[in-house]
Amino acid sequence: MTNRFLGLGFVAVGAVILFLSLQLPQPMAATRIAYGPGFFPTILGAVVTIAGLLMAIINPADAFEEDEEHDAFAWRQYIRPAIVAAAALVYILFSTQLGFLILAPIILTMLLVMGRVVLWQAFLIGIAGPVIIYILFAKLLLVPLPLGLLAPIGAYL
């Protein structure tokens, strides 16, 4: 993506921020102040819009550093990060219902397999890891990790 397109993108982002900020209510009656909740975001929206516009016009050249990883970003390269993001999304949506001890081993094993870890190792780490983490955080440090389906036997976990 060129900086020109990015600049135009930020003009759009800035415009959205401006639009939303201007819709925020005026200062409340109980406070005698001329600046409401929209004051600060409005400035920020304007800054983003102007900076984006300048970027689209000037198209600044990047000072490229020798960095081997940035060559040729093909769309294939985004597949595996997308799977990782999807795994996080599944955890966000379903961990409360399914529980950490059910969902985490599945996700961990899957990511390990995706990273071409030998199958038996992946299963071993995938199951032992979350159990150890659960004992450490939920039992010792009392972080309320979701029990989900295991809630009925929660007294024993």
Partner: protein, 498 residues
Amino acid sequence: MIENITAGLALLFDPFVLLVMVASAAFGLFMGALPGLTATMAVALLVPVTFYMDPVPAVAAMVTASAMAMFSGDIPSVLLRMPGTPASAAYTNDAFSLTKKGQAHVAMGICLLTSAIGGLFGAIVLATLAPPLASVALRFSSYEYFWLCLLGLTTAAFMISTSRLKGAISLALGLFTATVGIDPVSGVPRFTFGSTAIIGGLSLVPVMIGLFAFAEIFRFYSRRNQPVKLEQNKIKGVFEGQAGILWKERRAIAQGNLLGTLLGILPGAGADIAAWISYSVAKRFSRNPEEFGRGSKEGLAAAGAANNAAVSGGFIPSLVFGIPGDAIAAIIIGVLFMKGVNPGPTIFLNNPSVVYAIVGTFFMANILMIPLGWVAIRLSRLMLSVRLNILMPIIFIFCLIGAFAMENSIAAVGVALAFGVIGFAMEANRFPLAPFVLGIVLGPLLEQNFLTSMMKSNGNLVAFFDRPIAASLAALTILIWVWPLVNLFRARRSAPQM
């Protein structure tokens, strides 16, 4: 006096207290070293554990854990380019660049020793100058804080090295991120679209986990030829040549100590802001500013000392006036109250031995840091021996928990994921992350202090310059902005004569 100190030391050198300190040191090192788990979280998680302890072991546990976590947050910065705590984020690029040059042990050594030095400096100030400095801190009202925030943002302008426009966008978006949620001044929910999930705002820890840890995991999986192991295969001689480096960077360390302690004392600032400001001030006055961001030992030393000094300094207003200097001190004060030890001027009269014991824990914790930190660095070799395709998924699980545990809310994990994608995209398009993070840290302080100042002064802008400290800070800020113009003007004037 003397008998109070002896009584305090007796409280401290109790076998149980020492055991608690070593255990919480290990815990703090562990929490800091894992990306996604922070120093503040380590202390918060200790609250229930210390509920039934005596005051001295309880505070010793928290002080030790926070100091250790503050240092060990640097370990994943060095090895994985993932800052373990927000305070480490300022110099992550420098630390990792050194690793790339095969100098991981140098980076680790600087982080460890400057952390200990900073912590000890803060402890000395705490032991000797606490009451007068706390009185000065009490002079800071919203006007002074406003200028301080603006000064912080000004220094950010000097941190942007690649593209100024991209830096400005990054900073503005960071400031914008901080406005999401209920506006504490007007009480109006902003940019939440009616959802209660983010009504509390996008808080720093999940955002940091996303921008750094998640983004790095995404980057790892996007590579066609994944590196099997970390590039560094051994970390030896952590202390080798450190004496020379520390001596060479003595100015940066001294400046980090001072700035860190002072910013720590001011209620509301704290270690995160201290590290950023110290880093950018070091860059501003450095002879080699171009090295910053590419493995500058100077920047590493300045910021590494500052964040630990701030942890010690943050305890000064807490102890003297019961007003916490930062989030960590706030939790520790709460625990002290619980134990019936009320911080405030009377603590020096009612519980002098406890005061000396607490001050003692700051010294102990920072001295213990050197051997225990060395062990942690040696152990971090384990991280190197584990293949990355195993390490990354495990870190991923820790990030899920870390984002959740800070607020006990699954929405925070969603925030982390969203910012992981944003961080990945920003990095791919060469947007600097540093201004973004600084924006999130300073944004709420800047806005709230501006608005409450305006409310107090009935919209009269003169009030911002009316008080001596505010006026000095204002002058300093304006001077920093105007100075380049003055220089330019002088260069023009003198040009014809040359």
